[in-house]
Amino acid sequence: MEKEKKRNKGSDFVQGLFDGIPIGLGYLSVSFGFGIMAVGAGISVFEAFMISLTNLTSAGQAQGVSVIAAGGTLFEMALVQFIINIRYALMALSLSQKLDDRFTLPHRLLAAYGITDEIFAVCSTKEGNIRPKYMYGVILISTMGWVSGTFLGAAAGELLPSSVTSALGLVLYGMFLAIIVPPARKHFGILFTVLCAAMLSVICKFFLPFLSGGFTVIICSVIAAVAGALIFPRKEKDEEGEEADE
């Protein structure tokens, strides 16, 4: 009882900060790679910083930078962000079922900014309902890691030898592989979708070179995901138990 009362007084925020430390550290190093990538694509340090602050997402930003570098249209940019980030809608949906009553509309509007794969993972696996302050804590420390890493990568990236910066170009892709490989190993449907998308992407690169990177990603991922959903529809029970084998 006593403890519960104390918890209400604002240590929710501290708990959120604490739970978010691993995310913040992870983001720091990954966004360092993003900063280098952005500057390499001709984007200024300040612009890279602003992109990270306003977007807070790895895949969307990486692809966004290549759209900018290629001089793509704003329509392409919007479509690319839509397809790449549509997964957040699913996470937001799922997370909305877990919110505390204190999560009024203004809180929802604010906290929605911070729905990322990792923040979603931490919040959705937390016991009980989520309070606004807790989520703000997780978001704050994660965002600090993300923007400071971007700044450092963009600013110091130019000072580092090219052998280091070119190797750091792999950081984001390494993270992407770390996200897709473990579930692909466990679920045949994911493995199928992933291989299908990779194959289509290679085909586009070499046989449809007039397609820009952004559209290639959109076309390949939509076809692969539709194929995956048609051939390997997921059953209800798989939804929660990620570990359940097919």
């Binding site: 790679g33 977007n55 549509i86 929605a112 792999l170 992407f176 539709v226 209800e236």
Partner: protein, 99 residues
């Protein structure tokens, strides 16, 4: 096209995708197809973004391939994201001395 316009479109679209369902959606999606599709989309996107782009990410095929193989092996053994990401990079860096 100015940079500000790109950033506003990027940030606006990303925010709307997160905010609309978070703030306003109260029902549960019933369609098995839509649920499956939403489930597969992130993996498809990440895969299409990574292959073949990762092989060009370091400016040299041998280092990129070495880094990718390292990432695949470590990811296969379920190591944390950050370990896989940094090890891939380190492998490419070390391989760089030989090629």
């Amino acid at each position: 096209m100015t940079m500000a316009a790109y950033i506003i479109v990027m940030a606006g679209m990303t925010y709307l995708i997160r905010m609309l369902p978070f703030a306003f959606f109260r029902k549960k999606i019933k369609s098995e197809f839509i649920k499956s599709l939403l489930y597969y989309v992130p993996y498809a996107v990440l895969s299409a973004m990574t292959i073949p782009a990762v092989f060009y990410s370091t400016g040299s095929f041998p280092t990129a391939i070495a880094g990718t193989v390292a990432a695949l092996v470590l990811a296969y053994f379920d190591l944390p994201l950050i370990v896989v990401a940094l090890a891939a990079s380190l492998t490419a860096f070390i391989t760089g001395f030989f090629f």
